[in-house]
């Protein structure tokens, strides 16, 4: 098993200037260490859609790598996105799936089928390559080569799940974070500061 802290550390070490789209438990750990917050999006308040947002960014900016830090429960809810991603075949998309077998943020209930092997599912859908790691040394030693190979790549990371006792905050400030990140990233990627306020949080 790999810890969230270790997995996020080695990914951050190798990210270079990739866009990183995170969700759920990974986001909490990622925010503690990310070296490019202006290139990060933490998908919150929108169930399961990190892989789809990452696909959109990857298709829109093919010259920039996009890393998605997805989760097993989230991917189960958006399972069709494996086929959608494989169909579009973006060479710049690296899809990590943190597999802990539970829904951490809602109290630790088991996912419907804890034995699903997401790397095999992605391979069956047609990803360019897939990997599965359960020790951080192997992940660390392989990562820079993986991130320089053509995508879409799925990297399944076996992590030990810990239910979050506190759940997720839903405040005006926390819910404004994602819309602000998206505007910051658009400005960074396009050079245009042209997306004004909109929606309930901005």
């Amino acid at each position: 098993m790999i810890t969230y802290t270790d997995a996020c550390r080695v990914i951050n070490d190798s990210r270079d200037e990739s866009v990183v789209v995170t969700t759920m438990t990974q986001t909490k750990y990622w925010y503690q260490i990310s070296k490019h917050p202006d290139l990060d999006i933490g998908i919150a308040n929108a169930m399961s859609k990190a892989s789809s947002v990452a696909l959109g960014v990857a298709l829109g900016k093919p010259e920039r790598s996009v890393i998605c830090l997805d989760a097993d429960g989230s991917l189960l809810m958006n399972f069709g996105s494996l086929a959608t991603i494989a169909g579009m075949a973006p060479e710049n998309l690296y899809h990590f799936v943190f597999n802990n077998g539970i829904y951490s943020v809602t109290g630790g209930q088991a996912v419907p089928a804890p034995g699903v092997e997401y790397a095999k599912a992605a391979e069956a859908c047609g990803y360019a390559s897939v990997y599965r790691f359960d020790d951080v040394e192997s992940l660390d030693s392989s990562l820079s080569e993986i991130l320089s190979s053509p995508g879409p790549v799925l990297i399944e990371i076996m992590v030990k799940g810990q239910p979050q006792a506190e759940g997720i905050d839903q405040t005006w400030e926390s819910n404004a974070k994602m819309p602000l990140q998206l505007r910051t990233l658009r400005k960074r990627l396009t050079g245009a500061d042209d997306w004004g306020p909109g929606g309930p949080y901005l």
Binding site: A46, V53, G56, V57, L59, P179, L189, P200
Partner: protein
């Protein structure tokens, strides 16, 4: 319409496995500097409810959504609940919309783009099932492709 979209070189089609993916893919494309629209049926819009909430309305995304108005007819009554619920559903989400039933209504499409850009909100264009092409030579109205 799908064939026309595939045939148009200036448009890249992104086929999705379910409608709930369409809005977040569009959000990602917009962030990357592209000009996405989505094209789904009314039943698919219901399926995409949480994505509409979180990644269109919630982020203030200026997105035009072309929605096939399955079951809609000009007589008013329909056995298709996909049609019955479309406009109440859009009202519930406070999504502005335009109904396009024939070529005569096409000037509503640029209005949808203008409104989305002005408000930073998604705007729907509901395309009636009985969409009809006008024959400008005779002024007659003919049933178009479904």
């Amino acid at each position: 319409m799908y064939q026309a979209l595939m045939d148009e070189p200036s448009i890249t089609l992104v086929p999705v496995a379910r409608e709930g993916e369409a809005i977040p893919v569009a959000a990602g494309l917009f962030v990357a500097g592209q000009n996405p629209v989505i094209s789904i049926q009314n039943a698919g819009l219901y399926e995409a409810g949480d994505a509409l909430r979180g990644l269109a309305l919630g982020i203030g995304l200026p997105l035009v959504m072309f929605i096939g108005y399955r079951g809609h007819n000009r007589k008013g009554d329909t056995p298709d609940s996909a049609a019955t619920f479309l406009e109440p559903y859009l009202h519930m989400w406070r999504v502005d919309y335009f109904v396009v039933e024939s070529d005569e209504d096409l000037d509503r499409v640029p209005l949808a783009f203008e409104l989305a850009a002005k408000t930073n909100q998604p705007v729907a264009v509901a395309i009636g099932t009985e969409y009809a092409k006008s024959d400008k030579a005779t002024g007659a109205v003919q049933g178009g492709p479904q």
